[in-house]
Symmetry: C2
Subunit: 358 residues, 2 copies
Amino acid sequence: MEEHEVLDRIARRRARTARRITDARITLAHGAGGRSSQALLESLFLPVLSNPLLAPLGDSAQVPIEGGARLAFTTDGYVVKPLRFPGGDIGTLAVNGTINDLAVSGAKPLALSAAFILEEGLEVAELERYAASIGAAAAAAGVPVATGDTKVVERGKADGLYICTAGVGMIDERVTLDPRLIRPGDRILISGAVGDHGMAVLMARGELDLEGEIESDTAPLHDLASALITAAGDSLRCMRDPTRGGVATTLNELARAASVSIVIDEASVPVHAAVLGACEILGIDPLYVANEGKLVAVVAPEGAERALAALRAHPHGGEAVVAGEVRGDPPGMVLLDTAFGGTRVLDTLAGDPLPRIC
Amino acid sequence: MEEHEVLDRIARRRARTARRITDARITLAHGAGGRSSQALLESLFLPVLSNPLLAPLGDSAQVPIEGGARLAFTTDGYVVKPLRFPGGDIGTLAVNGTINDLAVSGAKPLALSAAFILEEGLEVAELERYAASIGAAAAAAGVPVATGDTKVVERGKADGLYICTAGVGMIDERVTLDPRLIRPGDRILISGAVGDHGMAVLMARGELDLEGEIESDTAPLHDLASALITAAGDSLRCMRDPTRGGVATTLNELARAASVSIVIDEASVPVHAAVLGACEILGIDPLYVANEGKLVAVVAPEGAERALAALRAHPHGGEAVVAGEVRGDPPGMVLLDTAFGGTRVLDTLAGDPLPRIC
């Protein structure tokens, strides 16, 4: 099938299944990464921005350049509240998050950009700390911040600061990563314990009567992703980083994109005890909580063992697991085999339990 | 001289001449593009983000890629108030502004990214209009929005919406553009009338008791820049787009970067009558007012005539002029031969006359 036919087919399917935006005004749910975010994207942005580069809606766009190479290009806005939390701050998050969008697209990150929106009255010393975090995270990852911009808005028109980063990288030509390559029988790998970042931020707000030692998992995953590519080769179908909306939302996106079902074994998914405890008290499923240092990989059965071993051998993947597998039916659905022996649907998040966590 | 020696020399000169940030808190002046913005960049961001890609501080970074080609990479935040104004809106501005940063770096734009920060309560219909503007501006320029992100912040934590765009392009290998190549005798070209954008936004705020028909000049300049490169060839030293801080700030940056002086003939600089009138009433020099569809080019004397002809032959350059020339002394200064026959220093903007215009 020619590329334009593939794109036409995507467009037609998307038009049939697109979520509709029904609200008259923007709500926090439109930014939470779940169903409302998808509706905003699919029924507001896509129709007017339509183009072949945007159409696949991956974590990064793939931009063909001279000589046949492909550039990965991605962007993210960071509006986390509070600006600092155990394990990191808005600066580390912005650097690692953008590196990770490139990494799960199979790209070697080349450079980052950072656009700052500062609120009048922000302490210069505080800004200095976040700038230093950005510098340290970029240096640790070996990916320079090559270009930037700073704007200042009046007091009360921001929340300290927002950072928008973009990143460019060269796509590893060894593999083709695409959720449409997912087939029944493929294995779902998760690179470690889920929910750390979202719960660390929530606890850091100090609004909850909870005490605990939860640290954000924010980390750059390009080296882990590269190790996975090397180990799994062609059996690697695709990777994603389960940020907003958590692992459950990522799996739903994959199941929809590939028209397959995904079955997850709840007991196999690692969750740190403090995160599990806090989630239980708050009535939140950790599978919906944001991660900033984990990846989800879909691997053909023959490569699953090698892939798991490669993840576990890496400092960022020590707790990696095979958490489930792909089935044919019902298409577009994610099912959870629960610890209690039953099965339930793990749907896309409809509401907005955790705003401003990334 | 080796590249690292050049970079060392830049770093040493910058350390000697760096503007210091003396404020304890961020003020609107830090975002106005003048002296305070430079201080923030030079004494806060550069020391912690230091790397060879960021060091040249051009409108775009130059990122070397496989095969010897160079990628241009740039970002900008858009916080304009009001969101719509005669001639455009935040969407057209975001698309054209990022294209122009690539264009004046001598790059052919490949793709844009757009990160949206939305305020809870923003009307969906209004967002739809800005998204449509982005789509239309991108289509008109032939540069796709390839990737995006949307975040929502609580009511009162933004001002409707902010947009951060980034852009990537391939640098035209026909020329090397660098302000350090500027030499005494070079000519300063301006592609048209100055001050339209800033005054259009200021009037659109409705806070002034002024009536007038001033339209923003927002336009994509990649085609104009390409025509200029073709016409001027190696005699083209560098290009800049004089946005925040206007032509005066751009010229000061060039004079500092090249350690030369620049003399501008005030009478030669085109200013539309309505802009001039509004500036006179408000006591603002149009040379400090933002443009969003103009470029400043420095051209060696032998290429100046061809360069001017190429600009004038283009729809976006019909009012282009040779506005001044480069001299040796005093280094780092911009001088204005005024319409009244005197000469005065056209210094970098210290204060903040026009916040939130881009």
